[in-house]
Amino acid sequence: MTNPPFIADHPPHPDFNAMSDDAFRAVVRDFVENHYPDIPRFAQRRLRWPEVRPWYGVLAQKGWIAPTWPRELGGMGLGAGKHLVLIEEFERFGCARVHDIGTVMLGPLLMEYGTQAQRDHYLPRILRGEDIWAQGYSEPGAGSDLAALRTTAELDGDHWVISGQKTWVTLGADANMAFVLARTDKAAKKQAGISFLLVPTDATGVTVRPIENLEGHAEFCEIFFDAVRIPKANIVGEVNRGWTMAKALLGHERVFIGAPRLSANALSRLEALARGNGAWEDPVFRDRFAGLAMDLADLGDLFETYVQRLRTGASIGADVGILKIFQSELYQRISEELMQVAGSHAGIKLEEGGDSRFDAAGTYLAARPTTIFGGSTEVMRNVLARASLNLPK
């Protein structure tokens, strides 16, 4: 698959961080309201590449595709607080989420661990939408035990030869590039001996197979590697040191997985549904709604403290799991309240293109994976118990 590049001919950005939150919010709102293309808003499922491509193009052209990248590398250079404003406004308008593995995960990794050649080659391609990246961490049977991976890569002259299988690759069928964790030293202990490799999905021996879910969508894929040869240079960081990098990436990601936006959207849905069907007047419902609304606001306060710590460069450590644990469980609790209130209509399956703002079942299903992917709640509680509470193994 090739992606014709978007032209990123935007002028240099001002320093958005110097603006007030309100002023920046007005800028974002104005931009979104005037430039969001004619594609779905408030989509309940992730849109596929052909669907979301127009929006990626608008963002790329404006230079807004990488909000947190430094301005000198083509990003917006937003601090955490401003980034949150951007997210809030995008969510408020119901903007579709673009394919962002490249900007959110691979980009920052290359900035920290990549070679200059890798940065020069890959970063602009992400900004222009030429490369759409997929993340290959999980393997069949390993689940939350990420380090139990069996995909191998062996050096054969100037090439790595990769064999194995990855699963639960988000939007993998839309990607032309994948980064993959593979075992490069079979003798080493579990976490050691793992390397971080970059693989074009059109290489010989790569097969991408969509996993159809119960809604008939293929948000996830399996990727099979059958003696796939990639250049020796397609490794990030040192050989056998991929695990630490992958973990660091996950840690950083978790602050943002813990952002209140998913729960906030779900709570808006709950209010809309309850106002529509009379539950809003019921004091018992209101009590439960109040509990959820207070949970959400408290989560916002907690999220803000983490954002401040990121902003000041303070370390976060194992406690970061707290955010993701609470946000994902809150999201689920809100979605379950939606199901209660929807009563006999709870199980309705939204028609394609239907208005998702009252979609109880869609929200319920969307909330399920959040306690499983990106570190299951169970594993995160194990880690928290040991690393943060210092409880014995």
Binding site: D145, V341, A346, G347
Partner: protein, 354 residues
Amino acid sequence: MPQQPDDSVENIRMLTESASAVVPGDGSLDRIRAARFQHPGFSRDVWMTLAEMGWLGLRLGEEKGGLALGVHEAMALSRIFGAGLVPEPFLSSLFALSLMEAAKARNWIGSALHGETIVAPAWQSVPNALDPAGGVSVKAGRLHGAKVAVAAGADVFAVTTPEGLALVPCDADGLTIKRMRMHDGTFREDLHFDAIPCEIHECEKVQDCLYEAMLLHAGFLQGTAERAFDITLEYLRLRKQFDAPIGSFQALQHRATEIKVQLELSRAAIDAAASALDGGQTERLSMAILRARSRAGGLGRLVAREAAQMHGAIGFTDEADIGLFVRKLMVEAGQFAPEYQLRAQFMSLREAAA
């Protein structure tokens, strides 16, 4: 609690055996899988089998061609159908026929028992309250208004109105049907009535019929939940992570035992309510049914949540059976009314009984 009479036990044994005509003994879900999302979401052939077995008349008096069996018997089938994810509108039909019998509406009963006509109750006007009289009115012999969340595929609707029961054929002039796909692959319909001429059959037992339907539905939910739990337990025993079966992790074990606790409470509450109903007890019967339905609803929600979580990623695939159960529970747990409405109703009755 009165004991189940011995003939009831024997009836249940026979019903359970013959249920394999509809629910395969080997647990196969192939038929269920294939029928999904194809309107009306179930098989008319299987429906004829239900009719031939006499099950559609399970609760109907013998003089009307029914089997005149007890609620315990109907409950046994309901549980089996729940465990088998049976999509045919069996409980819905029992509810409709009990309304028709109570209203002395003779038309259609015969053809309904023979499976030729499917009758669905249209009793609810908002999707989250127990309001059989709501949403519709009858003026000068014509039906106006709306009902929601009616089982799809019916030939005739048994509409509860403030004045009594109205029977409306699905092709009546003035009837608008909005069809909705459900996540379990079945369909439901919201109905709108625009001045449809109809005969009204007085019916004083609408509440009784509604409560019996709720109780049987509790059994269906329990059947679904119980099998979903069994499948999950099996997965916990086999699936390994961090070099151990995940079922050996204490946190999961304790959560699994909570499901077991709720399952046993649900079973006890349902059986006690069924005995009270079969025993002709009226005092506190409604409260017992509200309890049973509320417990089963909570159980269904709990099992859906935990089955999805304990299966992890695999549960989202179309290949894994557990997803079918999660979807069924999503659709069925909300039937009738949310648990907090049932609790409010319970408190009203409690005050009245005191």
